[in-house]
C-alpha cells in the first residue's frame, strides 16, 4: 500500500468514534427534531402531520409561549450586562491585588458548584431575609430575584476570562499610552478596553447564548411563578414535551429558540467590526 492510502485508513480509524457519536447523538436528533416539529407527536398514541401548525400555535394561540419569550428576553437583557460589568470591574480591581489568585478562585466557586444546590440555598435566603411576601413570591420582583441569583452564580467565569486578557495586555502599549498622557478613565476607555475587546466579545456572545437557555435557576427558585412571570423558554419547552407530552410542540419551540440564538449571535458577529480590535 502506498503511504497516502495508509494515512487515509488510519485517519478513518481515528475519527470514527467521534463521527459515529456525533452522527448518532447530534446529527440524527437534529434531523429528527426538524421532522418532529411538523407533526403532532404525542408521547403515546398516533402522530399526525400538521405542517406549520405547531409554530402557528406557539406564536399565535399558546398563552404561555410569548410570555416565556418576553421573560427570557428580560432576563437576558438584565443578566448579560450585569454579569459583564461585575466581571469586568472586579477583574480590573483584583488584578492589582497581590492575592489575585485567591480572589479569582473565590469568586469562581459558584460557577462550578451544582446550580441546583446554589439555587436551593438562595431560595432559603430569599425566604429568610425577604419578609412577606418575599422577593420570589412577589410578581413584581420575582424575575429580578432570579437575575440576582444567576449573576451571583455566573459572573466568576467571565471574571477569569477578563482577568487573563488583562494580564496579557501589552506593557509597551500601556506605557506608550501613559507617556501620551492617557490616565484614569481615558486610559480605561480608549486603551485598556480596546486591548481586551476580543475577550469582551467572546464573553458577551457566550453569556448571551447561555442566558437565552436559562432553565435551572427559575425552575428551582420559582417553578416559573408566581403566575408565569418567571417562566422561561426552556421551561416552556420542557413543559410542552415532558409534562404535556406533546413532543412535536416542544421540538417546534426548541427550533424557535435556536433561531433566536442564531439571530442574536449573527447580529453580534456583524457588529463586532465596530468595536472589537484584533492585534494583527
Amino acid at each position: 500500500m502506498n503511504p497516502r492510502t495508509t494515512e487515509q485508513w488510519s485517519a478513518l480509524g481515528f475519527v470514527t468514534p467521534s463521527v459515529l457519536g456525533l452522527g448518532l447523538f447530534t446529527l440524527f436528533p437534529v434531523g429528527m427534531a426538524v421532522v418532529m416539529s411538523f407533526f403532532e407527536w404525542p408521547m403515546l398514541g398516533t402522530r399526525e402531520f400538521v405542517g406549520l401548525e405547531n409554530f402557528r400555535y406557539l406564536l399565535g394561540e399558546d398563552p404561555d409561549f410569548l410570555t416565556a419569550l418576553r421573560n427570557t428576553f428580560v432576563f437576558t437583557g438584565l443578566y448579560v450586562p450585569l454579569n459583564l460589568l461585575l466581571a469586568l470591574g472586579l477583574a480590573f480591581w483584583i488584578n492589582r491585588s497581590r492575592w489575585a489568585n485567591l480572589w479569582r478562585v473565590l469568586f469562581f466557586v459558584p460557577a462550578i458548584t451544582p446550580m441546583v444546590a446554589n439555587a436551593v440555598i438562595w431560595k432559603l435566603l430569599f425566604q429568610a431575609v425577604g419578609g412577606e411576601p418575599n422577593l420570589l413570591a412577589d410578581g413584581r420582583t420575582a424575575l429580578l430575584a432570579v437575575v440576582a441569583m444567576s449573576v451571583w452564580q455566573g459572573f466568576g467565569y467571565n471574571m477569569i476570562v477578563f482577568s487573563a486578557a488583562i494580564n496579557e495586555m501589552s506593557p509597551s502599549v500601556l506605557e506608550a499610552a501613559s507617556l501620551d498622557g492617557a490616565t484614569g478613565l481615558r486610559r480605561l476607555l480608549s486603551v485598556q478596553l480596546p486591548l481586551i475587546s476580543p475577550a469582551l466579545f467572546f464573553a458577551a456572545t457566550m453569556t448571551m447564548i447561555n442566558a437565552l437557555q436559562v432553565f435551572t435557576q427559575p425552575y428551582i427558585l420559582t417553578a416559573g411563578g408566581p403566575g408565569n412571570v418567571t417562566e422561561t423558554l426552556v421551561m416552556n419547552i420542557y413543559q410542552a414535551g415532558f409534562e404535556s407530552r406533546d413532543l412535536g410542540l416542544a421540538a417546534a419551540g426548541a427550533w424557535l429558540l435556536f433561531a433566536i440564538i442564531l439571530g442574536v449571535t449573527a447580529v453580534q458577529f456583524l457588529g463586532q467590526k465596530r468595536w472589537v480590535h484584533y492585534e494583527s
Binding site: E7, Q8, S10, A11, L12, G13, F14, V15, P17, S18, V19, L20, G21, L22, L24, F25, T26, F28, P29, V30, M32, A33, I94, S97, N101, W103, V105, L106, F107, V109, T113, P114, V116, A117, N118, V120, I121, W122, L124, Q127, A128, W152, I160, V161, A164, P198, M206, T216, I220, V234, I237, Y238, L247, A251, A254, L257, F258, I261, L262, Y278
Partner: protein, 273 residues
C-alpha cells in the same frame, strides 16, 4: 499609597464576604437544630452546632447513592470524551485525508446546536435503544462533543511536525505516535478538558431530570438534591446540609486544581476567538 492599598484590600475583602454570604449562610443553617432556621433575629448560629444533620441527610435519602452515581456517570463520561476527542483531534491535526476540512466544518457546526433542540428527539432515541432510566443514557448522548476535539486540536497544532516525522522514521505507526508522542505532550490540555467535562456531567440537571425515573436508584447529585428539597422544603436544616454536601466535591476539585482551571479557562476562552 499604602493607605489606599489597605483600603482597597479591606473593601475587596468586604465584597468577597458579601459574595460568599449565601454559602456561609448555607453552612450555618446546615448546623442549626430543626425549627431554628427562621429564628429571629436571623442569627447565623443556632442554640447548638448540630453536626448530626449531615448524617441525618443520609438517613432520609440514599445520598451516598447519588454521589456514587455521580462519580460513575461523570467518570465514565469523562473517559469517553477524552478518548473520542483526542483521537479525532489527532486525525484533524496530524493526518492528511480526503474530506478533512469538510468533516471539520460539520464538527464545528454541531457546536451551535443548543441542548434543548436535541433533548426532545434524544428522548425518543433513548426509548428506541431501550436506554430510558439507565446510566448509559446519562453518559453517551453528551460524550461526543466537537468542543473537546476543537480544544485538543489547538494544542496538538502547537506540537512541531518534525517530532512526529522523527517517530515515524523510527518505525512507529500512527497509533504509537499518538499514544507515545502526542498524548504525553497534551497532558495539561487533557487535564483541563477532563476537569471541565467531569464538572459538566456532575452538575448537569435538565437531562437527568428528563431521563431518570427511579431517582433513588440511578439519580445523580443535582437530581437527588432536587427531589429531597421538594419533599423536605420545610426541613431546611437538612436541605442545607444536603446542599453543602453536594457542593463539596467540586469545591475540593477547584482548590486542588485552581491554577490549571484558571489557565484552562483563559486558554479555552482565547480558543474561542
Amino acid at each position: 499609597m499604602r493607605a489606599s492599598r489597605l483600603l482597597s484590600h479591606t473593601l475587596l475583602a468586604g465584597v468577597a464576604l458579601a459574595f460568599l454570604y449565601p454559602l456561609i449562610f448555607a453552612v450555618a443553617t446546615a448546623l442549626k437544630p430543626p425549627g431554628e432556621t427562621f429564628g429571629s433575629p436571623t442569627a447565623l448560629i443556632g442554640s447548638e452546632l448540630r453536626w448530626r444533620n449531615f448524617a441525618d441527610v443520609f438517613d432520609y435519602v440514599p445520598f451516598e447513592r447519588y454521589i456514587g452515581n455521580g462519580v460513575l456517570v461523570s467518570g465514565a463520561g469523562t473517559l469517553v470524551v477524552l478518548a473520542a476527542s483526542a483521537l479525532s483531534a489527532y486525525a484533524f491535526t496530524a493526518l492528511r485525508w480526503r474530506g478533512r476540512d469538510g468533516v471539520f466544518l460539520v464538527f464545528l457546526a454541531t457546536m451551535m446546536v443548543p441542548q434543548e433542540v436535541l433533548v426532545v428527539p434524544m428522548f425518543l432515541l433513548m426509548q428506541g435503544l431501550g436506554w430510558v432510566d439507565s446510566y448509559q443514557a446519562l453518559i453517551f448522548p453528551w460524550a461526543f462533543t466537537a468542543f473537546g476535539t476543537f480544544l485538543l486540536r489547538q494544542f496538538f497544532k502547537s506540537v512541531p511536525g518534525e517530532l512526529r516525522e522523527a517517530a515515524r522514521l523510527d518505525g512507529a505507526g500512527e497509533l504509537r505516535v499518538f499514544l507515545r508522542v502526542m498524548l504525553p505532550l497534551a497532558r495539561p490540555a487533557l487535564g483541563v478538558l477532563a476537569v471541565f467535562t467531569f464538572i459538566g456531567y456532575w452538575n448537569s440537571f435538565l437531562w437527568p431530570l428528563i431521563m431518570i425515573n427511579d431517582v433513588n436508584a440511578r439519580g445523580t447529585v443535582p437530581l437527588g438534591l432536587q427531589l429531597f428539597f421538594g419533599q423536605n422544603g420545610n426541613q431546611w436544616h437538612l436541605v442545607m446540609a444536603a446542599s453543602v454536601i453536594s457542593v463539596l466535591p467540586t469545591l475540593l476539585l477547584l482548590v486542588a486544581l485552581q491554577k490549571h482551571l484558571v489557565k484552562g479557562i483563559a486558554t479555552a476562552g482565547l480558543a474561542g476567538r
